[in-house]
Amino acid sequence: MESVYAQYVWAVPIAPLLAFLVLTLMRCVVKGSAAFIGVGSSLIACVLSILILLERLSASTNVYTVNVEWLSFGAVHFELGYELTNLNALMLVIVTVVSTLVNLYAKGYMADDERQTVFFAYIGLFTFSMLGLVISPNLLQLYIFWELVGVCSFLLIGFWYERPAARAAAKKAFIMTRIGDVGLLIAILILFWHMPNHALDFQSIGQVFASVDTMSQYGISAGLATWIASLIFLGAIGKSGQFPLHTWLPDAMEGPTPISALIHAATMVAAGVYLVARTFDIFQLSQTAMLIVASVGGFTAIFAATIAIAQRDMKRILAYSTVSQLGYMMLALGLGAVTAGIFHLFTHAFFKALLFLGAGSVIHAVHTQNIFQINGRGRSMKITAWTFAIGALALSGVPPLSGFWSKDAILSAAWESNKLLFAIGVVAAFLTAFYMSRLFFIVFTRAKRVHTEGTDSPIHESPAVMTIPLVVLAVLAVVAGFVYTPFYSGFETWITGVAASDHTNVIVIIVSTIVALSGIGLGYFIYGPNGVREDRWSNVIKPLYHLVERKYYVDELYKLFAVYPLKVLGKVLDVFDRYIIDGIVRYTASCTVQFGKLFTRIQNGQLQSYGLLSLYGFSALLLLLLLLGKGLW
């Protein structure tokens, strides 16, 4: 069937780009209607990508690629273009839907900010870059947009630039992800030189890395494949906040909350997962790389979940939860369950965006992010509370909400291949349910304390422009899971192109349900309206609690082992440069000067000594003539 909408894929990223250009270049003209332009452009992109998705769902599953030459000389042929597969059609929808809702939400959230235009311009640029990343047909273009989303994330984290914390967080985010990016860059270098015809497009990669045989046919050893996969994964680690490069993501919460929802929860951070899924052919050929992916993912999932338990900042808790859930996705990919990983990405995007926007709604009303200062004040915001509850339940994995199905898909994959990782997944799921119920109960249900300092003005529900996205996302968080249940595997067939069997695993379903409910139960027991006070139990395991609260001192370790040595080395080299290198130069110069001064002694300005000197010179010449110049006489 002839594709109708697929040929207009290019228009999807162009719409937000135009919004960005208009908002940047004609800032003064469009000042009032910034939000309108932002929402409008992303809505166009959204409608178009939904049409494309529907088209692909109904009929054509062939890959649609268009390339134009970008830079070409000698052996280099870099191309730009777009490619449409089922996977990125799905990603397009995720990105544009969340982006549209966030734009809409931001209209209310940022209403009072005088730099609104800049904000919406940045979001436009981000949406463009993210969509460009998704439809990239080759690794180089993906890298370009990969960097661009990174810089947008940087700009938006540092949006409130006056705050030193925002500045530090922006810088940290950029540098930490850059470490990963260089991994990806090196992977590109290796691929460029080892791929036939220096091809970097995903189709060629798919062909070369189709199996061990084809790979060795093109002269790529298994070890090299492991290296390539690991380096690509390093890029994913940076972008998706996996251990040990995760520290930037929680700090990124310094940015405006809509941004946290869009970039640091739903879309950009998932780019790492998308990258691994896109280059999965390479990973598949290396057991080592797969094991690395699975272990890093599993470890991050449980590691971040424990940290989330002890945080006090509402957005930080959600951020660590994001890190943990991304770990989940990586775990799935590492186990070979691409569909499960992508499925979790899909559901997670909706409920995590929902949670962040809900948190933003609360923060907007109470002007604090500390959950103990909010302390139940969120209860008067009915819509926010209910939608937040749905999001929290979905994240905790309570059936039949979306999070349950995706988590179940991952856990059953783990159950089949690696029981240890399954156990880790289960514990992480329990912790997730626990910290989410902690968050929910403290913020929304706790009895109001008698002595509350500061303003105690009544809390109002946010305006409709902010609650509508919440409701839409809540609906999506409920229903998104039904596309891929244990009883229906069409989604997997659609994503991977390989017919799949249903993966009903009753044990896993029961275990994950029990775990989720018990986590929530424990949360209710401690933090519920009649629960015990937190310090009761936190005092019991004080050292451990501190360790978790301080995020395992990872930041401090970075400071100690990376930042300080770099600074010290820089300072030492500075001294070296100033006194040794420049010292040698100065010494040479002064030697020359001194040597010259030696002769200036003679030049004392006394006419008579000049005369005497010339007399000496004359005599010497005469003497020379007498001694040597025999022939001249």
Binding site: Q603, N604, G605, Q606, L607, Q608, G611, L612, L615
Partner: protein
């Protein structure tokens, strides 16, 4: 004949050396100028000696020495003028104190 030339030349050499000694050692600029005159006259003596007893005797040497005397007179006039100007500025004619060349 040649002995006559030798004695003239010797006298001229002695005069020249006395002049040179004066130029190099005397503190007073006036004496220095006088010594320069002495050296010039030594040269004049040579010129005349050669014009009379040289290989090709000719009057040119004597004419040339007359030129020399005239120029020496002019030179002394200029020299003394400079000296006076200097004396007005520095109130001394001590050559040791004239080391402006150095700076």
């Amino acid at each position: 004949m040649s002995s006559m030339l030798a004695s003239y030349l010797t006298l001229a050499a002695i005069l020249f050396c006395i002049g040179l000694y004066g130029v190099l050692t005397k503190r007073s600029a006036v004496i220095v100028l006088l010594s320069i005159e002495l050296m010039l006259n030594a040269v004049n003596l040579n010129l005349i000696a050669f014009s009379k007893y040289g290989v090709v005797p000719s009057l040119k040497g004597q004419v040339f020495s007359l030129f020399n005397i005239a120029i020496a007179a002019a030179e002394v006039a200029v020299g003394i003028a400079i000296l006076i100007a200097l004396y007005r500025n520095r109130a001394t004619t001590n050559v040791d104190e004239f080391n402006e060349l150095r700076n």
